[in-house]
Structures are given as C-alpha cells and as structure tokens.
Symmetry: C2
Subunit: 561 residues, 2 copies
Amino acid sequence: MTERPVAARAFAAPVPADAPFDLESDVVVVGGGGGGLPAALFARWLGDEVVLLEKAPELGGTARKAAFWYWVPNNAPMRELGIADTEEDFLRYVARLSRPDRYDPAAPTLGLGEWEYALCRAIYESASPAAELLRERGALPYRHCRDVPDYWSELPEDKAPTGRVLVPEGARESMSDGGEVGVRTMSEAAARDGVDIRTGHRVQRLVTADGAVVGVEASTTDGATVRIRARKAVIFATGGFTHDRELRENFLSAPVYGGCAAITNEGDFVRIASSVGAQLRNMNYAWMCPIPLEKAVARRADLVGMFSVAGDSMIFVDKRGRRVVNEKLPYNELAQEFFRWDPTSGEYPNLVLIQVWDQRSQDHSASDEYGRLIVPPGTDDGHVIRGGTLDELAAAIAERLERYRAHTGGLALAEDFAANLRASIERFNGFAERGVDEDFGRGERAVQQLFNGLVKDEPGRENPTMWPISGAGPYYAALVTGGTLDTKGGPKATPDGQVVDDLDRPIAGLYGVGNCVASASARAYWAGGATLGPILAFAYRAANAAHAEPVREAAPAVTSA
Amino acid sequence: MTERPVAARAFAAPVPADAPFDLESDVVVVGGGGGGLPAALFARWLGDEVVLLEKAPELGGTARKAAFWYWVPNNAPMRELGIADTEEDFLRYVARLSRPDRYDPAAPTLGLGEWEYALCRAIYESASPAAELLRERGALPYRHCRDVPDYWSELPEDKAPTGRVLVPEGARESMSDGGEVGVRTMSEAAARDGVDIRTGHRVQRLVTADGAVVGVEASTTDGATVRIRARKAVIFATGGFTHDRELRENFLSAPVYGGCAAITNEGDFVRIASSVGAQLRNMNYAWMCPIPLEKAVARRADLVGMFSVAGDSMIFVDKRGRRVVNEKLPYNELAQEFFRWDPTSGEYPNLVLIQVWDQRSQDHSASDEYGRLIVPPGTDDGHVIRGGTLDELAAAIAERLERYRAHTGGLALAEDFAANLRASIERFNGFAERGVDEDFGRGERAVQQLFNGLVKDEPGRENPTMWPISGAGPYYAALVTGGTLDTKGGPKATPDGQVVDDLDRPIAGLYGVGNCVASASARAYWAGGATLGPILAFAYRAANAAHAEPVREAAPAVTSA
C-alpha cells in the first residue's frame, strides 16, 4: 500500500443549498472504513437509499490495517456461555479507567460527565445488537475470543475480564488479517445490498438550508466538484487527525510523530463540523501505540503499530543505554512512556528508545505481523540495525540516530551508551534467570503475556516474557517511538451520533461515528477492540436515528433576486 | 474577592447586522485584563474611539491576581546596560523550549511551524516598543529586574539569561502586588484618555455582515442585550478556559482541577470564534502552577497559584509517604509532576501530594504572598493540617484526604505512610546536611533558588533550599495538586492578532490577544512574565492592525422583505 493521490483540502465553510445537486439519497455516509461501512449497511437495511463517499481510491480506511478485534460487552456468545456482564459492572470498569482521577463508584455517573456516561451506556446497549445484525446479514460473521483478557483485567472493577472480544470469522489463527477480512465481507454486503459506493470523493464541506445539513460537496481526484443531497442525514465516519501535523501538535497530550491510521485521516471532520458550530471534545487523547521511528518520519502509508513487542531476550534502552520501561506493557500504555518529560533537562529523554535483541530472538521471535520489528529474512528490514558485538551495534545505532537529528530535537547516543547497555543487559539477565523483573514488573500482567508474541518455548518457565540476552553477537536493534492508531477527538455527538452545537443541541441532519467524533473513553484503552466495538454500536444507533429523520427540503426560498 | 454574578452563557452563533446597534465605536475591546487594557490604550492612542466590555463587575482579570512580571526581550534597560539580546539568540531559546522534540538549530524556522516562528518574531519585535509606549504615556511605568533569571537560564541557547523581566513601578519589594499596581495604572490611563469602559457586559456572540465581523452582542447582569457596532474591528482579550471543566477535561494534556485565572475565564472566545470558522491551536498546553487542592475543588475565586514553595525544612511526599519530586522546580514544571501516569496501576499516583514542614519553616518561611501554603498566624489557614507528632500528622492527613475522596478518584493514604514518611525525612535530612539532593537535585538551578521563598538565614550554607526537618513536633501539612495560571489555547491568530479561518485567511474585523488565543509557546514557560510580555506585544500589534482596517458598513443590503 502506498500513498495515493486524493483531492487537496479546500475551504470547509458550508454553502447554501441554492445550486442544483448532482445526486441524491436518503442518507449520505462519508468514509468507507470501520465506521462508514457498518453505518451504510445499517441505514440500507432500514430501507434508506444510501450513498457512501470515500476519499481514498479504495474502501477500508484504518480498519483494513487492523486485526479488527471488536469489544462487545455482554455479547451473544457470553450470554450463551453464561458469562455475566451486567451494565452496572461494565460502566464501573469503563468509568474507572476513563477518568481515574474523578472515578467515584458512589456517584450517579461514576465521576464521568453526563455526556460520557450516556455514551458508555449506549455502547453497552447497542454493541451486541449491532454485531448480531451484521452477523445475521452475512456482513460480518465472527468468532468469539473466549480467552482474550481486557487490558486491565486485574482491576477489581473488571467483572468480566475475558470474553468480550469478537473477531471476523475467517481471519487467520493469529487474527492479524481480521481487518482485511472484515472490510471485505462488509464491502461485499454493501455492494450486494445496493449501497451506492463512490471512492475518490473527498467531502470538502456541508450544504445547509435553514440551519439544517441537507447535503455535501465533494471533490474528485480529477478536480470536479460533486454536490450530493441527503434527504435525511449525512453521517461522517472519516477517521481522526493522525496525519495532520498541525492538529497533532496543537491538540494531543503527547508530541507524536504520527501513527498507523489510514494516510487519509487528516482531521477533515474537525474542520467541516467546526465550521457549522460543532463543539470539539476529547481532542487531547489518542488510541496510542509504539511505532517504528523511521516509517513515521517518512509518513509511510504501510506503517503498522507495534501491538506486540515480541522477543524474550530483548530489551528497550534509552539514549544512555539504560532500561527505562516495561517493554511488554500494553501498546497504549507503552506508547506514552516515550513522552515522559524531564523537568530539569527540558527534554523528552525517552522520545526515541532502542529495541535491542540477540540471535535467539531473531531466530525464534521474527514475524511481520502486528508491527513487530524483529522480522524474518526476506521481509522489509530497513529499520534493523546490526552489530557483531555490542560496541559495533552501538556505533551503528549512533550513526542511524544521526540521520534523524533534524526530526528528534538532536537526540544522540550518550558517550557511555555501550557501557550502560552492557550493565543493563547484565541486570536484565539476572531478572530473566529468576523470571522476576524487579525494576518494571515485566510479564506480571495477563495482557503483557497476551502480547508477548512469538518466543522460543522453554519448558517450565513461568515468565515467558524474559530470557537472558546472549553474551555473544550478532546483535540487532531498531528505533522506536510513540504514535497513534488514530486520534480520539472530534465533534461532540449524542449517543445517537447527532453532532451538537455549543449549547448541546443537535445540528439537524449531521451525524458522526468513529474516530472522527469524540470518544467517551477519554484517556482509556479499555481492551482490545475498544475502538471497533463501540464504533459498531454508534454506527447502528446513528443509522437508526437518521432513518427517523424527516425528509428535508433541500432548496430554501430564494432570498434575493 | 468572591465569585460575583455574571450573565449566563447563551448561544454563540453569530447574528447578522440586520437590527439597530445600541452603541458604536471604531474598535471594540472585549475583556479588561492584562490583554484588553493595553489593547484599548494602544487603539485609543492611535486616535480610534474605543469601547471596552468586561464580563466581570470590575477590571483586571487574571492580571490583577498576578505579580505582573512582563518578559520583554531586548528591552530598553537591557540596551542601556549593554546587555546583548539578539533576535537570533532569542528565537533559538524559545524554539528550543517550545518544541524540544523538533528543535533544529540549522532549520529555517528552528523546528517550529511557520506560524509559531512568526509569532515568536513578533514578540521580539514588539514587546519592547509596547512596553516603552505604555511607560511613556504613564500607563505602565516599570522597574527593571536586572537579576531575575529566565526559567531555563542554564541552557546554552539562553544568551541573555537575566535582564528580560520588567515589573510595574510602585509594586512592593517582593513584587507580589504588581498586578494590582499595573491594572490600576492602566485603568486610570484608560479612563483619562477616553476609553469607554463598561463592566458587567458579557459578550455572547459576534455580529457579522458579508463575512466580516462588524460588532458584538453582550448580555448585562440584569438580562439586557446590548448590541455594539465596531466600525473597524473587535479585539478579544477574554482569557482562557481554566474555569470550564468540560473544556479542561477535553483539551488539556493534564486533568487539572482548575487554577487561578480570573473566575470568569470560561473559554468564551473558543465558542464565539469557533462559530465563525476559526481554527483552534495550542489547546493542549497551559501555563501551569501547583495549587492548593481544597481551594481548587471549592472553585474559590481567591485561589492563587503556588509560585513559590517556601521552606527549607520542608518536603513533598506522595500518598505512600515517599518523596517523589524536586519541590523547588519552577512552578510550570512542578505542576506537571502531579500528572505522571502509572501504566501498571492505571492511576495518577501523584495527583495529590502532601507538603510537610516543621516549626522552623513555620516560624521563618510563613507568608501569604505568591500562594504559599506556610502562612502566618491570623491569615486564612483552612488548608493547614497539624500534628504534634508525625503519627498524629499522618492521622490528620488521612482524615483530610477522606473528605476529598469523591474528587480524587478515592485517593487515600497507604497504611505504611507514617513509616515511609519517617524514612523519607531521614533520607532528606542527610541530603540537607550535605546540601546535595542526590534524588532530585533540589536547589541546583538558579530558578529554584529564585523561588525559594523566605527561609531562616544560615551563614555559610551553599544550598539554602534544604535544612533538616526537626525530630520533634509540631508538624504541619497541606494538600497540593497541579493547576493552571490559565490555559494557552484558542483561535489561531496572525502575528497581528487577526483570527484566521481554516485556510489561514484572516476573518475580517476579528482579532484576539492574550490567553484567549493560541500561544506560540506550545509547552514552554520561557521565563517569569512570559505570559504578559508577549501579550503586550500582541496588544500593540493588534491595535495597530485594527487601526489600519477600513470602516465597514454595518448594515448589509436587506435581502428579504
């Protein structure tokens, strides 16, 4: 997958409905990824005519690059298996993690704002009906991941620590191609059931009449403007702003380099909805993930987040050669460690960390799935740095970092890097021999073992996340930083996906679902699939609310001659 | 100062200029604090008629609560003293701190975005002319603080480490009343020179005609709507969004409880400017400061930030009784330490820290200036927790924290708090005896000694920030968290204060200065007065640009009968 041409961004201010439309439909869905495809399907199945506009040359968005786990509380297989997952318990778990500083189990909304609480209830209520309808219609058959734990399964608030994750049926055993499978099955269902799909259409702005949204204007890759009427509603599902540097730098709580969202996710809906008075929410947080520095700097469309940091004889060290983090933290948590601020030196000392591994991990943990950096021979290994000895490796790392100075605030290896690296390895090896990481607790939590990746089997080993790093080379390394899967912020929308104005009143005819609107998760990454599960719920609710909208007159009375 | 009634917020969408105005002027300034007063003065001195609208019952805003240092690069006293401060050096210093992860001394804009770079140049160019004009006209006479260091004076990029700070003439020796003095002298000059000042006027929305801003609508405290025409321009200087919980939680990089901005700073301009298509920038960062937990939770209008953590026989400990921070970090840096995330426990373990001191610090470091928590007898000491022994103190702290459980995510003292506190004191006392803090480097930097506050003189002591804590009671404590002075984000504006649309084109007639618009400082707090110095520069530039605007017709052609 490479970067492909899309129309350039133009002025986002709305235009009045005083010119003819090129096309019309009951519902216009903008974006054909993990939010737009189900929204279009749900709307179509309700009997609405649906046009789906996708900016890229192909459908799929970020979802196509994902494993497409989807987190569905109280899902049908859980109910069949008798696994209890009550709404009350679910809400406590999500509230505890979303606003830990405000969590109050005795408060009516558990410390969440009213809006966040309402959204979390909507997830509980609608994720399972949405998943079942997609399954029943053959658009997204699934298999149940009975044993996959939530990312905070040890918390006392998690009363259903495993069983909430579904994955597209037909995905391979490792599930890494779930997104390709899910996008394919939903796309096929959309074509089968009569959704009018148009790729290469970048929506630039809304068309409004009497304060309501009645359509959109899109640019095609050949420069034409197409004006599409929505009799009932426009539903945006255009993803976040991972690939807009200015938005990233001015909104996110951490100065990431980018991430692995679809390269077309440039915050279009932030601008389009703001221009009709929408409020923005949750602009500070993102679904985070470690990413390889070099692909991020190059803005490679094929960048995949490091969901799994594989290897047992493997550590991360900082520019001084010191181990500073638990390498097996779940990705959202690990990614934030790169942005710890040093209030004395005035820098992000961990902005780039160095993954170091030996031949054992190279032989037994290599894979090109889930963004792993220990890759097999014959795959894209431009990021791998090599050295026959630790000193040679250190020299090669120093040289590689030098190439990126202009992108890293001049980050360079300290002079004592190699010496400290040796000491770090020695200390780590002691922990590995005992299976206990006294510094960072590596491998202590279920989720850390879930994402351990491939490692050589060692019978009787209690902690499979660690093994001593060899005293003899060759050694390998790669540069890692923190990034996003995608951002979490955008216009504030009701539990039915209706985008609201600055007094929380719905803007008639305007809907949003997915990463293009504000998530109720605040800073939390509740579990694997906590992106797509809620997105399906909101797509379902938005399609139902849009279906109930009145047909709006597109052309207002002409106001001047 | 207590909370006073202001008009409630209403719908922020603009209204057309199709109804008569109650009042008109060349320039309308919204907000009468540290940005609005100078903007009104500069506009008036250019010959424009000026109406100034202030939401609160009195002028002054946040500035009145401040020491009103203002940071002016290459200021007149520096030039007279022969202290070199070139534009090139200044830009390197600010760029290095604002975007440390992107800083590149070899790049044309030093790693900053073009917009940020242009704003930093404008500060260098205009802060001194602005300060001189205010001085010459008697609106803000100053004295030069020759020896006050920048907050990062040890960085190699700081070529003028002292001398950039000015303070209102007539402020007391400690400078803590600089804001009252500066607001008074500027207010008197505004009245003297014919600025039409109207307090108790909350601007709700813009009045627009043909895409240009031609006035505002304000609500008065008695519920009336007043419509004011601006022939040339409206300049907003309404402060940040410190006192809007939903904006704080959804934009700031840290979940603060609030801060010491004027209680009327609720993000009004975020909503008003967004509704005409302004872009928002730097919404993630704030001017930060430690604050007392209890006043923040109570939303006390008299809350003052802890600029100076006084006391030598004094430490901060966490809920487990462990020292976790350098207590003498400059306030912006110290405030961020409260929000360190623990990726394993899923909490902010330092959300509330406990300042502990003994009778020595009580006797010698008490003051009610600069937000200090060690206060003299007879002053407001509701925040002080007391114990005859460390065990009694621990019990009293536990009881106090219990009252705030609903606001702190259930934060409570660990069972081994008292034991750990004893160990922390013992370790600290060893450092204090040697004058070297091996854990956190307390007192090592110039800025840490600048804000050391009052301490008992001990001849020959090299590090006056530390002294052993007594082995005998009584002991004292207070609860501290991180907050804002005010936020840094808002609409994006040009170096002349012109608010821009989503394609960076100025929205005709709309200006913003101060904390209500986006600061170019990103995450940095360059020096004391890095708020007000740049604000004066932008007030000066905005007034000049507004002066050059054409007079706009307020009433467009009537479009319908």
